[in-house]
Symmetry: C2
Amino acid sequence: MDRRQRYREQTRDEAKRIALEQLAEAGPSGISVNAIAKRMGVTGPALYRYFANRDALLTDLIEDAYNDLADTMQGAVTQRAGHATQMRALATAMREWAVAQPHRYLLLFGTPVPGYQAPMETLAAAHRSMTAVLATVGEDTEPANRRSTLYRQLSAWGEKMQTGDLTPKQLHWGVTVWTRLHGVISLEITNQFEMTGVDPELVFKAEVEALVAWGERG
Amino acid sequence: MDRRQRYREQTRDEAKRIALEQLAEAGPSGISVNAIAKRMGVTGPALYRYFANRDALLTDLIEDAYNDLADTMQGAVTQRAGHATQMRALATAMREWAVAQPHRYLLLFGTPVPGYQAPMETLAAAHRSMTAVLATVGEDTEPANRRSTLYRQLSAWGEKMQTGDLTPKQLHWGVTVWTRLHGVISLEITNQFEMTGVDPELVFKAEVEALVAWGERG
DNA sequence: TGTACATCAGTGAACGCGCGTTCACTGATGTAC
DNA sequence: TGTACATCAGTGAACGCGCGTTCACTGATGTAC
């Protein structure tokens, strides 16, 4: 029977669900094995049947978040056609995901968890989001200045990521999309706009349109 | 005699210095009253003569960091002339400050410290950085679309901040400078560029030049 | 279908540790006459 | 200049709490003949 295995997965999922609630309420350092167990109606050591230790649990949460975000962004892009349309869909999907669950976004891109070293497994999941961004890239018409250090580094990165025939200029565009969207989103979900009375969503949309305009200019 | 008072300040400063070391090593949650006292060769309760409690200490660190960053940015801008030159100086100063002490930058703009509510005092310090950004703003020639929601909110914010005769468009420029610089800087100091092999400084410089070019276009 | 054995979930005690904060107290440093 | 008093820094014990993790053990669930 695999009833045991199904039960194992349910228990793991419940533990992670509660861990996410703790993350939302008290940040990464608020995630406690003992407290999770107590809320599951079980003693602390019981959870060590399901996670090697606290860090393993954290790794699971991080990997899940990367994958969830990447799925959301991929989904937004692949269901649409045209670079401008894809760009807007990607940006909206990314922001809405982050605003709906700021603690998960900050788990990935906020202050690094002290003493925690991300294992290799999470890297693959992280790459998938960048792939979605690169799907919104337009054509590259002008010949690039291949001699600049930045473009050489971008080329090397593109080869490592197997992005196929994307030029350094296109990769640079992808990076810029990423940093600009992150800039507005991260300031929004850390409440930095609060004291200004300015709606972060409007700032975000304006930034997206600036990107679209720039993208169409080539 | 004010020997006592000078001694008080020295003790406060030493406590804050050690707190910053803890912040660098173990994040905000790694700041511990007892551990600070121990490293000062004193018992835990002694520090309650100098700080009402742990949150008051945190508030001090945050206020200091805001003021330090604002001073750095103000200094970079006021010593130079010309919008493009000021823009480059401001951006460089901001990035170098953040890269030199990422834990302090993240204390201000990273994941909010759970359970900590920033008091009003820190707001004034926060505003000073934005003022430095707004000093790099160019002329506004075109008439703005004053009917948009974003521009109305920006106007209200400008009046509240007493920015004088800056137009909504110029305020929007200031916000955009802020979000774009923060986007690259925050991803750099959370090591998100590490796995790409791309030098964040080059990405940053390219972003600054894009801002300069946009600023000169008007 | 029934019995013997293996697997595994969960318990409870324990280890060693650190935390923020209060309180009554001692002893040193300053102030006023 | 000397003495009486007030101020203040720091101590040590205590409170109540939570943490991650280990270990030997019980009892239930599954598997093999």
